[in-house]
């Protein structure tokens, strides 16, 4: 006796039950992030024809050979790579956007135009205290707006440093988690539902890691993942190496893996580092603008006399945009008259020199160039970001078409496996009927 109808039917019913379980699991996790659609892999049980001839019937039904995770490594890698690029572009745009806001919303352009207009208006009556007061208040507004912009940039810089530190801490935590999952994968047999669940977690961690930094992933024995960054190993079978971040002398971010410097070219950390470099450049240019204003007006003041006939004193103090400040609020302190003029002189000779010095310092033009440069960079990066987002969406759609759960498919499977189960039940009934008909002989 090499074949048993009842055993075959039982194995068929069991297989259908497993398939129904997997279908139910798929339906339950249809909305779970990172869940990959499972299916059952079945194989026929036959053979064992040792004692009998080859023509003998030797059938034993079906068995579950494993749970299949419907995903391939290439599509996963594409999603990681494109997601990494998109995260970099997003982080860079966020950084540049904050630079643009800090420069534009501080109203430096308007303050410079008003200051120059105030000086030009003072020419109608250089001894008029009201007009002088307007110039002084415009100067104060200009200094304040430069302070605000510098403060905004400094706050954005602190924010970017914090972002980088958070990203590095998160990446290191993910490395540790991945190492634990690797250890469990080594002990988990192939084709089990446990392994499938662990692989889901592994892939989710790899996605998170690649969004933070453009890591290279290789899959080793037992489906364990090895991760490296810039040629330096982060997670390997021998353990985890931590990523570190510091500030280079020029204010940019310096990354290292276990003390070895690495450069990060993708992921949000790369975008943050690129944004920070541009922020530092913008901050230095803003200081140049502030220093141009300070230098031009203070030297113009020095070559004239104030309303009371005394030598002109410096108007602005400070060494950059962060600390530029009006040294005096006294309208009489404006040195509109040329050196040697008497007290109360209406001679606007030095006022002309002041306007010429302000124009000559090109502070307004330089600031305009700075703001234009940053806003053009934001606009350009937006185009790149949209392109990268389209690419990432495409890669994701390709992956999802393979690994995502479709409820319609699962409904069809539910029906199919239910029918398979019912058919196996019918086979059992036939087996009993056959047995009964033999018992009823005689």
């Amino acid at each position: 006796m090499s074949s048993d109808l009842m055993t075959i039917a039982r194995s068929g019913a069991n297989a259908a039950r497993y398939a129904l379980d997997v279908t139910a699991q798929n339906i339950a996790n249809a909305g779970t992030a990172g869940y990959v659609r499972r299916s059952v892999s079945l194989s026929e049980v036959s053979g064992g024809a040792m004692l009998y001839s080859a023509a003998d019937v030797s059938l034993h039904g079906v068995r579950l050979s494993g749970i299949v995770r419907n995903v391939d490594g290439f599509r996963m890698a594409e999603v990681r790579r494109t997601g990494s690029d998109l995260a970099r572009a997003d982080a860079e745009i966020a950084a540049l956007g904050s630079v643009e806001s800090a420069l534009e919303q501080s109203g430096i352009s308007e303050a410079m135009a008003s200051f120059k207009a105030g000086l030009a208006a003072l020419k109608t009556d250089p001894t008029n205290t009201a007009l002088r007061a307007v110039v002084m208040e415009n100067a104060r507004t200009l200094a304040d707006s430069l302070n605000i912009a510098a403060g905004g940039l400094d706050a954005a810089r602190a924010g970017l440093h914090a972002n980088a530190a958070d990203g590095v801490a998160e990446l290191n935590q993910l490395s540790t988690d991945l190492d634990k999952i690797n250890a469990r994968l080594v002990r988990t047999p192939d084709g089990t539902s446990d392994q499938a669940a662990l692989l889901d977690q592994r892939d989710a961690i790899l996605h998170s890691m690649s969004r933070i930094a453009g890591v290279s992933v290789s899959i080793g024995a037992h489906q364990t993942a090895q991760v490296s960054l810039g040629g330096q190993s982060l997670v390997s079978p021998t353990g985890v190496t931590a990523l570190g971040v510091g500030t280079a002398p020029d204010g940019s971010l310096a990354f290292d893996v276990g003390g070895t410097p690495v450069s990060i070219v993708a992921g949000s950390l790369a975008g943050t580092a690129q944004g920070l470099t541009q922020l530092n450049a913008a901050r230095a240019e803003l200081d140049d603008v502030a220093n141009a204003v300070i230098g031009a007006l203070n030297s113009a003041q020095a070559s004239g006399v104030a309303l009371d006939g005394s030598a002109g004193q410096p108007l602005f103090g400070g060494t950059g945009a962060g600390d530029i400040a009006l040294l005096t609020g006294d309208p009489a302190a404006l040195a509109t008259a040329p050196a040697g003029a008497a007290a109360g002189s209406r001679d606007p000779g030095n006022l002309d020199a002041m306007i010429a010095a302000f124009d000559g310092s090109a502070a307004a033009a330089d600031f305009d160039n700075l703001l234009s440069g940053v806003s053009s960079a934001v606009a350009g990066r937006m185009v790149t970001r949209d392109a990268l987002a389209t690419i990432a969406d495409g890669a994701n759609a390709v992956l999802m078409s393979q690994s995502g759960v479709s409820l319609d498919d699962e409904a069809a499977n539910l029906l199919r496996f239910q029918q398979a189960f019912q058919a196996s039940g019918r086979v059992m009934q036939v087996a009993r009927d056959l047995f009964d008909s033999i018992l009823s002989i005689g």
Partner: protein
């Protein structure tokens, strides 16, 4: 096997509807604020031009004020010169009377008194203040343009040149004339000025001295030359007023050009924006309707 995953169907639908809604909101903001650009990176080139236009507007306001100040001061100078001319003509009439030999000393005294009044009026006119309260004909000085000595003679006390005003378009206008520009001239190579001529005549005629009639005759020539100098000053003022008017006309044209640029670069084109908003809303409604239809389509509904 490729299929449409339920999760990605929902995500894609949500993504599409979100981006449509975002576009509609951007258009709505553009319509509500009438500003096409919400931040410089929306259009860096246009934003830069808009900043330049705003700076030009700020300066244009100053130039407009400068032009008004210059026009007011030049108007004051014109009025002053008109009055000086009238007074000089009256002085010529009086000098002509005084020069005739038929009047007696008592009558000359009366003529001399009137000439002295004319001198006083002239000094007062020369000490007129401008629209900023500074001496109109005193150059850059703060005090009165002409100081009156104890004996009644007046001398120029101003200094320097009147301030120049930038009225836009590269046009710089001197806002007035100095006293000497208006009153000093030479007769037969001898420098003199209108005030001292009138005062000299007044003193001479009042005294009724033997030479009064001949002094008056000499003064007549001098007064005619003075009147010519005043006319020259009036011509200068008139030319400057012409330049101010030119600058004002230019400024109006430029302001219109800037306004047109600002509308072109920075303001929302309402018909386009409203049409685009309508389009976005229609597409959004259609997406919502088709999403509802598609998402209600489930095989489970047919499993019995």
């Amino acid at each position: 096997m490729t299929g449409i995953s339920t999760h990605s169907f929902y995500e894609r639908s949500i993504g599409n509807m979100t981006s449509l809604r975002a576009r509609a909101e951007t258009l709505q903001t553009q319509i509500a604020t009438e500003q096409r650009l919400q931040r410089a990176s929306d259009d860096p080139v246009a934003a830069r031009q808009l900043r330049r236009l705003a700076a030009d507007d700020t300066m244009a306001a100053v130039y407009k004020n400068n032009a008004a100040v210059a026009a007011a001061d030049l108007g004051l100078a014109e009025d002053a010169i008109d009055q000086l001319s009238n007074l000089t003509i009256r002085a010529q009439e009086l000098a002509t009377q005084a020069a005739t030999g038929t009047i007696n000393d008592a009558q000359r005294k009366i003529i001399g008194d009137e000439l002295e009044q004319i001198h006083t009026s002239m000094v007062a006119i020369m000490n007129t203040r401008d629209s900023s309260g500074n001496p109109l004909f005193g150059g850059a000085a703060n005090g009165p343009a002409y100081a009156v000595a104890a004996d009644g003679s007046a001398s120029y006390a101003g200094s320097g040149q009147p301030a120049e005003l930038d009225v836009g378009g590269g046009i710089v206008i001197s806002r007035g004339l100095t006293g000497p520009d208006l009153l000093n001239y030479s007769v037969g190579g001898t420098p003199t000025d209108l005030l001292s001529v009138v005062r000299g005549l007044a003193v001479s005629v009042q005294a009724g001295a033997p030479g009064a009639a001949s002094d008056a005759r000499t003064a007549l020539d001098s007064l005619t030359a003075g009147l010519d100098t005043l006319s020259a000053g009036q011509a200068v003022i008139g030319a400057r007023q012409g330049r101010v008017e030119l600058a004002v006309t230019l400024a109006i044209d430029q302001a219109e050009a800037r306004a047109a640029d600002r509308i072109r670069l920075g303001e929302t084109d309402m018909p386009t924006a409203i049409a685009e908003l309508q389009e976005a809303m229609t597409i959004l409604e259609a997406s919502q309707a088709s999403f509802t239809k598609l998402s209600s389509l489930s095989l489970f509904d047919y499993l019995r």
